[in-house]
Amino acid sequence: MVWFRRAGRESRVPEGLWVKCEGCREILYRKELEASLYVCPKCGHHHRVSARVRLSQLLDGGNWKELFAGVSSADPLGFVDSKPYAERVKALRERGARHDAVLVAQGKLDGIRLIVAAMEYSFMGGSMGAAVGEKITRAIERCLKSSYPLVIVSCSGGARMQEGILSLMQMAKISAALARLHQAKIPYISVLTDPTTGGVTASYAMLGDLNIAEPGALVGFAGPRVIEQTIRQKLPEGFQRAEFLLEHGMVDLVVPRQELKETIARCLNHLT
């Protein structure tokens, strides 16, 4: 029995009775944190949640059907860094993350039939390889066929380096599918959560008819460290956070998690 765990490492949150808030360092009762959708009741910090938790928060009755579950990552480059990429993926899958870095589901949100893709940060930083690219593209194609609206909840460091140029091309593949969705006038809501950077931001995460960010989420193209190295100075407080993006006109709304489902429903009801 684990008595104490840091929140934020989503897969571990449910294990302990008590967790420490990543924002204010207060000790929180796990049940209470879970009931508040992993938003700290003391400081409002939005903890990262797994794709499953995300879907259960958004979809009615926690009722949904996983789509494209059979798609998983290959190792087209034979990539090896400190450990072979193929082994890395195998180990993660054996630990239970069988859906790679995105979980696609069909379900209802406030009675609206739709498809939701939720990214899994604990799977290699939510990075986008060809499996992620394929599942999201199929999700878009399914929306085109069924006229269901699409919601993608992004949480990703960007393209998956271990798949090289083929991960970069997922940006083009998914964006091309989104062009079709755009022309078919089917709503797509992009939800940006902490963190969303790199090739994910520079493709589908910024292409929503509506872009909605969670409070405090880091959202950007280049990561803060890369920018600091380039300009050789410290970045200003709040740089690349959700509120910064709102101020600069890059997102429509910053919405606390407790209001996210209701906000998406209200927007979709206007658009469909």
């Binding site: 998956r160 380096m161 090289g164 140029i165 083929l166 091309a176 520079a202 493709s203």
Partner: protein, 314 residues
């Protein structure tokens, strides 16, 4: 060599090249011919033994032809077009109208500088959002007036700076990817030097994608990859190999359509020849694409990019 250091594996080649032109300048034909033979042998040696990392260095060579060199070498009646109509003109991307073989075309391309001042002016070929937005504006113009688009890709990457983030670097790239996919006019892309990740792809979605023999195209620079995965800058060469970023690799992955051969030793050894090779490829591609109804192009382009990527399925 205008400010940039010669990589050591190219030092002998560079020295011989200078000796040949010196001998030619002095009118010593016999000596020039003798040195030319040595030069060719050295160029063959370099080409035969070139590693992925060395290709990156050739791709970054300061005397490699850049977008405006291709425009000057292949086109006439050039009119450069400036600005994104929203914020500014970005000199790291050039756009314009030109005649190619007597037909009007739209050109977009990254532009690097050759001397220190020009390099700074061009921000080392790293565009800001307004550069990508200018490119999109001009590509829309191409669609409207039924002109094909020729895109030259050569960038270390989109500029990672505070101002670029404030103005939506990610949004600008994303929008280009979506809009280029749906553009109802032919798009021919040539990766001429560095294909630096999203900053390259943002003008790289086309009906035909060519790549010069020593050009590289990657999701991340070998330096960046080494820093993240090995936490060690000295692993750059290993990262360059692991990333599979050469033209041959990309052809194998089905990401590009054709490799365009470079002059022996690299495009900088004989820029006019490299430019002519690109011209020939463009001519053929445009002739083929003109036979397709513009309204059918997005469907074909979708099919092309839809196939990219390898995954398992049970």
């Amino acid at each position: 060599m205008a400010g940039a250091a010669v990589p050591s594996f190219l030092a002998t080649l560079e020295a011989l090249r200078q000796q040949v032109s010196e001998a030619e300048r002095q009118g010593d034909r016999a000596e020039a011919a003798r040195l030319k033979e040595q030069l060719d042998a050295e160029a063959r040696r370099v080409t035969a033994t070139v590693t992925p990392w060395q290709r990156c260095l050739i791709a970054r060579h300061a005397e490699r032809p850049y977008t405006l060199d291709y425009v000057r070498g292949l086109m006439t009646d050039w009119v450069e077009l400036h600005g994104d109509r929203g914020f500014a003109d970005d000199p790291a991307i050039v756009t314009g109208l030109a005649s190619f073989d007597g037909d009007s075309v739209v050109v977009v391309g990254h532009q690097k500088g050759r001397d220190t001042r020009d390099r700074l002016y061009r921000n080392f070929g790293q565009p800001r959002p307004e550069g990508y937005r200018k490119a999109l504006r001009v590509m829309r113009l191409a669609e409207k007036f039924r002109l094909p688009v020729i895109s030259f890709v050569d960038t270390p990457g989109a500029y990672p700076g505070i101002d670029a983030e404030e103005r939506g670097q990610a949004e600008a790239i994303a929008r280009n990817l979506r809009e280029m996919a749906a553009l109802e006019t032919p798009i021919v892309v040539v990766v001429t030097g560095e294909g630096g990740s999203g900053g390259a792809l943002a003008i790289g979605v086309g009906d035909r994608v060519f790549m010069l023999e020593h050009a590289v195209y990657s999701v991340i620079s070998p330096e960046g990859c080494a820093a993240i995965l090995w936490k060690d800058q000295s692993e750059t060469q290993r990262a360059a190999e692991a990333l599979r970023l050469t033209a041959n690799d990309l052809l194998g992955f089905g990401v590009i359509d054709e490799i365009l051969p470079e002059p022996l030793g690299g495009a900088h050894m004989d820029p006019p020849l490299a430019v002519r090779t690109v011209g020939t490829a463009l001519r053929t591609a445009l002739a083929e694409l003109r036979r397709i109804r513009p309204a059918d192009l997005p469907r074909r382009r979708y099919a092309k990019f839809r196939k990219m990527g390898a995954f398992l399925e049970r």
